[in-house]
Amino acid sequence: MTAPDGADHALHLLRQMLRIRRFEERCVELYSRSAIRGFLHLGIGEEACAVGVMEALGPEDAVVATYREHGHALARGISMRATMAELEGKLEGTSRGRGGSMHIFDAATRFYGGNAIVGGGLPLAVGLALADHLQGRPHVTACFFGDGAVAEGEFHESMNLAALWHLPVLFCCENNLYAMGTAIGLAQSETDLSLKAASYRMPSWDVDGMDVAAVEDGARLACEAIRDGGGPHFLEMRTYRFRAHSMYDSDRYRDKDEIERWKERDPITALSTALGATGALDEGDLDRMESEIDAEIDDAIAFAEAGSLEAVSDLERFVTSEPGPREGR
């Protein structure tokens, strides 16, 4: 466990991870009583990846995430209320209830999804970075994807294009060792993913994805290098999801002992224990943090459940743009 700089910052990281963890645990309950439907992919165990990378980004940077993106949305600063309302299919949701769990979007934070075609978000990230390059803006586009995406052609095409054109993309690979139910060793002839980045002459870091400070440090170094004109960078975060791929998954393909071993490296427990050891966090502090987060989640659920359903008469809105000025950014 790397010690984050400053106790206040460490407590902030802990709070962010805990918000995601508790939010998703409540999502499971809501799913059980059918308030949330469709696919629900939980990132429980992987919170350090989303939180660590987001800490390295500025408000003008862009984010392209995957379908396992509740944590990324919350860590990016998208309101928990709007996120929960989206999961409940409400008009007040981030995407008016059009997207659900897999398609959270937010223009205010430059959060470009919520992309549910594995690998399909990478070309978008390259293009967002190209737009920044062409317009002379010093921004970074952080693109999240899993080890599964590494097998897709779009990964290789995008890595090549970003490197060839020296574009400001931070490729964030959340390597949780499984592409849905297929272990990385059964899907990749070369399981050392940094070698793939190297083949595109792209600098890469691999970091302990269960250590939020390590992720943040790696992401900060990479973002600094990118902003200094260093071109795209590849950040591999070695992580693990503690729960099944989605609510439909009976998790037959993983060894229970393996799951338990990874749980011993829980990023939240690791950080709270480390903070406890330094005296920066006592049990009372943690209880207070937990109850504040519970209250935030209660509020988000109440907001979602009081939300409205989009009128069916609006079903065809936004297939194409409505008249009036609209500018991408």
């Binding site: 862009a62 070309p123 293009g127 967002l128 737009a131 294009l161 743009s321 500018e327 950014r329």
Partner: protein, 323 residues
């Protein structure tokens, strides 16, 4: 008025857009140093530089997706795909991203991209470079699909397409690039409506892109036989200007659809269906279709000619309706 080729008209349209708007850039395989695989962009690299005329590697999915991302990021990209058959390598990006992002994001993110590509046969390029798959793209909500068939449309459709906040696909029939004609409009043209290219009262021939010339050729032959054919150029394949089609059929009471795509599950089927849904009682005969033979396009010239809609096939179809 000046006489130019379809290729030159398209090049002028791209040049004009690059001059008008700093956000516009052209990206695709061999658009720069090579000058475009059909020489549409010849000379533009020298004029605008490699940042705005970007040669992309053979990565259709990545550079089309990058165009979509750049559009999200405030640019107005023109992405060129060499030929419609190659666009299938980018279909994920076109369908799952370009066409869906606005809706899926609840109206937050529009995708103002223009994707141009060559379509059609007639140049003995065989079964991986010759198909007319634009009809597939007309199936997808969220896309505008255009088929410039004339010099004026080649020159005028691009700018309004770039002004559209949503994705526009422009299909350029490869057989048209060398066609010369008078440029009568140097400004933007309407991209929402069909156009009546020849007036007539006896039958409506509906065509677009490469088949417009086929339809006009057939109309000439029919005129000699005393049959006045009206020729409708669809121009916009999605959305379809059903009003112009129905108004014409309402007068002529007969319709033949000419489509270089295959017949089964096709754009021609959609048009025939709309006519029967909305103008059934105006018809004096069933709607007829002249499409490509349902074969992968063959190389040998006599076979390729046999596979494609030809004026005489259209004439035969009209004669059968008149019988």
């Amino acid at each position: 008025m000046s006489v130019i080729t379809y290729r030159e008209a398209m090049r002028e349209a791209i040049r004009d857009a690059l001059v008008r708007d700093d956000r516009v850039f052209l990206m695709g395989e061999d658009v720069g140093r090579y000058g475009g695989c059909y020489a549409v962009s010849l000379g533009l690299l020298e004029e605008f530089g490699h940042e705005r005329i970007r040669d992309a590697p053979l990565s259709e999915s990545a550079f089309v997706g990058a165009g979509i991302g750049a559009a999200l990021g405030g640019m107005r990209p023109i992405v060129e795909i060499m030929t419609v058959n190659f666009s299938l390598l980018a279909l994920d990006q076109i369908m799952n991203n370009a066409a869906t992002l606005l809706y899926m994001s609840g109206g937050q993110f529009s995708v103002p991209i223009v994707i141009r590509m060559t379509t059609g046969a007639g140049r003995q390029l065989a079964a991986q470079h010759s198909h007319s798959l634009e009809g597939w793209y007309t199936h997808i909500p969220g896309l505008r699909v255009l088929a410039p068939a004339t010099i004026d449309d080649a020159r005028g459709m691009l700018w309004p397409s770039l002004c559209d906040p949503d994705p526009v696909l422009v299909f350029e029939n490869g057989a048209l690039y060398n066609v010369e004609g008078e440029l009568t409009e140097t400004g933007a043209v309407d991209i929402t409506s069909a156009a009546v290219r020849r007036r007539g009262d006896d039958v409506t021939i509906i065509a677009y892109g490469g088949t417009l010339r086929t339809a006009l050729g057939a109309a000439e032959v029919l005129a000699d036989e005393g049959v006045a054919a009206e020729v409708v150029d669809l121009r916009s394949l999605r959305p379809l200007d059903t009003g112009t089609i129905l108004a014409s059929v309402g007068r002529t009471h007969r319709a033949v659809v000419v489509d270089e795509g295959w017949r089964s599950g096709s754009l021609s089927a959609e048009i025939a269906c709309r006519i029967t849904e909305e103008a059934f009682y105006d018809l004096d005969a069933p709607v007829a279709r002249v499409c490509s033979a349902e074969v992968p396009m063959p190389y040998a010239k006599h076979l390729e000619d046999a596979a494609l809609p030809q004026p005489e096939k259209v004439v035969d179809a009209v004669r059968r309706l008149e019988a």
